[in-house]
Symmetry: D2
């Protein structure tokens, strides 16, 4: 069969068990609904809100995830890195300095197709810690990926909207899809940039919305109001999946459709329709 | 006539002439479409991207805006403050320290109704400059506003999604509507919180989307890639209005409907439907 | 006896046992050498580098310390706060928001004199967390202290040299002595400001100088070079006491002498003299 | 003649005309007093507090300065960069990303000796903007310099004391002298590290001490107290030179003596001696 559109499904930052349980129930259905050829999920918060472990990795593969991306919490649990050395399907941002374990990008076979996809994970520096430059690191990695495939997906884990837009403009036309993660709030700006790259500033999170970014809201309020340290706890309740689906033209390797979803729908109306 | 729903229209950060020109063309139509009773707009970037001036204020009033809110750029053009002393319909964040000019909240007659609305403008501190605490300032102002009306709208101008969610939880049920501004990217999380406050993390901006946050994208990319200062310029092209409409039940003063819009719609698909 | 100069001894941030052991050996001698009437020490890092506990508090009192000040690490060990409720001689920065336990200033009898001294602990906000304004908090506290005494000592725990100088200028002539703490590096700018307040930007730390700020240097280098979290450890070796002695004229309550010391002297020369 | 000690004189951040005028009067005397073989000065604030220009460069050369280092204000005045392309004796931090003009290190003949000295200018990232990693940049540059000379001087322009100490430990024994600049406050920790590198956390500034970091103190206080922008002005009065002199053993290329000075002495006592 010669399919000419690739369907990519991306799941935003999974926050602990509430997020994992949602995926357990709904991810297989989403994969079917969107006829997803390749599934990527950001797992930096999947282990109780911070980091990931081996069981969660196995579970996500079981559910149909092909590649797991990360972020600033990727290094929260060092134990998992001994395992990750041998697993190129778990990524952490490439622009952490040399000397850190783990992979920042990979090139993967797309199941059932004679094609490959490159997935690149990067992290921002504005309002975040000082690591290597994501712009020049992106250029370096994309050069290497392009030796094997022009079909490229980037997860840019960053805080500042300006840095996300700037890197996306820098990469427009060179990659297929660019998604932002890390703020845990889905944005409403999914669009195709002029040179063909699919874009969204942030996919949002997969976890409890009766929370502050998936974590207990009382603790978070205390931290802001008192200015003192209080131990974070995971939240639960009003759980939602945030994701995007993108369609890539297999001839041009450019995006022809990108849309975001929050499931179940957030309750924004008490009016009868 | 006894209307039982109040329609509020809020327009996100207006960035220079591209934003103002859009409003000139479309705002009257939006007011009609949404049957808006009260119109609020964030004007902190309306003067060439930074600050505001007297002509723009007059123009926005002409177009039907009742109250103009601000943010970290409110103080960029000091000249306008001599005028603002006498105009309580232009706000800047209340939690700038005492000694600064301007108003941070106001209580306004809703045209054509025998009712008042309080509008409160606050600013975040995470990843922003160190001003007074927005949480305790909110409590103080809301106490005073409630002497006159329980119908309260808050524009929280802030960077961090966690700070926005935390303040919204703190105010849930005490105010009618809470909108975030400042990141210039619309979020996809408009919802009604459990105790009845309408919420969105960020309304987004009104200006050029062929840009980084409304400003020239080449300059922004240079700043990120070189780390050196380069003069900001306003962008133009691919201009959009970001806003929300909210409906407030006039008996409970709580929100019964909140939805966001980006107009014209962003192009997220090249597929035929 | 009518003494007309008050001798104050202040000891900079004590970092763990290396700092405490030095004080055990040398503090009594310093008190004698400087004929110190009142002894203040910053204890925010005294418990293994972070926070303080009840035993350390008792030990410092035994050694002759009258008041213990704090900083951003004061809240690291919550257990001690139940005790601190009843002990007004341990301070933490006053400008932590209301709702936090502990005292931020106190007025104390000077042993053997019929006089009182006010000690005020404040914290900066530049490059630090967003707490209340140290400038207006200082004004508020100094007003209250002055009802009982004009002899006032301020420990301003802050990172930025600009914020330290600015607050010192704001207080010059209103207080007797202003010392900075927190950077753990002694500065070479002890001086009497034009209106009579004794000033130093930072007193420095009391702990291991074979370290990064008293903590293990290998860990610190890893954190900077790798950008990833690595557990802090206390350092030991090449231990030094940093302090100042100040003399205050008991009639004017202004400073007439301020000098800093690092003991033992740092090795800055291999030349024979 | 075979001299076996090299005398280096370094002058801390020159802030505008008050700093330049002091050097005009006193620098030649200092060069003579310390028998300085090589003179380096940080000029990032020499032009009215921000940046440098061609006249100031010429003047500093006239006064006996051999190399001018810079910092975060080096790029404040772009005009001078067209000139700097041709002048390798003016440096700006090397770890600004590729694509920026100017030199970050140089290898220079020491006048009257048959020896060369390498001077390397780096900038920190903690509490500063996100540029390239100073640690790996240092390693790269030092490798190249060592092809020509082992006598190496580093000016690390940085805010955080921890980052300064960490980089100094990383370089201890590989370079002759390491000085910190940028905070504009002289530190009291000049010392020789265990493997032979001369060290000081900050040299301090050369300019008005009746100021906040050389700039008008009223403006600075307003900025801190009001949280709003107010235009910086240069200060004047109570002007001081901050510098260090270091002696390097010409056989080992390691430091055998380092001492700092503030001239004239700060007034820290009103007591008769
Ligand atoms: Fe996350
Ligand atoms: Fe994250
Ligand atoms: Fe804005
Ligand atoms: Fe803003
Ligand atoms: Fe400390
Ligand atoms: Fe501290
Ligand atoms: Fe400087
Ligand atoms: Fe600087």
């Amino acid at each position: 069969m010669s399919k000419n559109l690739l369907n990519i499904l991306f799941i935003g930052d999974i926050v602990g068990d509430p997020g994992l349980n949602l995926l357990d129930t709904f991810l297989p259905g989403f994969i079917k609904k969107y006829d997803a050829d390749f599934v990527i999920a950001n797992g930096e918060n999947s282990h109780q809100g911070k980091g990931i472990n081996r069981d969660i990795i196995a579970k996500l593969y079981d559910l149909g995830v092909h590649v797991i991306t990360g972020g600033n919490h990727s290094f929260a649990k060092w134990k998992v890195f001994s395992y990750m050395k041998n697993d190129g399907n778990i990524l952490r941002p490439l622009n952490y300095p040399k000397g850190n374990p783990g992979y920042g990008y990979g090139i993967y076979d797309i199941p059932g197709m004679d094609r490959k996809i490159g997935v690149l994970n990067l992290q921002g520096r504005t309002f975040m810690s000082a690591i290597d430059d994501p712009f020049s690191t992106a250029d370096w990695a994309i050069d290497r990926i392009k030796d094997e495939t022009d079909l490229i997906f980037v997860d840019f884990h960053a805080e500042a909207t300006a840095e996300k837009m700037a890197l996306a403009w820098h990469l427009d036309g060179k990659i297929s899809v660019f998604v932002g993660t890390h703020t845990h709030i889905p944005t409403n700006d999914a669009r195709i940039l002029p040179d063909g790259t699919g874009y969204i500033s942030d996919v949002g999170m997969t976890g409890s919305f009766d929370s502050v970014l998936g974590m207990d809201k009382e603790t978070s309020m205390k931290r802001f109001m008192l200015g003192t340290p209080h131990r974070y706890k995971l939240a639960d309740g009003n759980n939602h999946i945030c994701g995007i689906q993108a369609k890539v033209d297999m001839e041009t390797n450019l995006c022809v459709h990108i849309e975001s979803f929050v499931y179940p729908t957030l309750n924004n109306s008490k009016l009868e329709e």
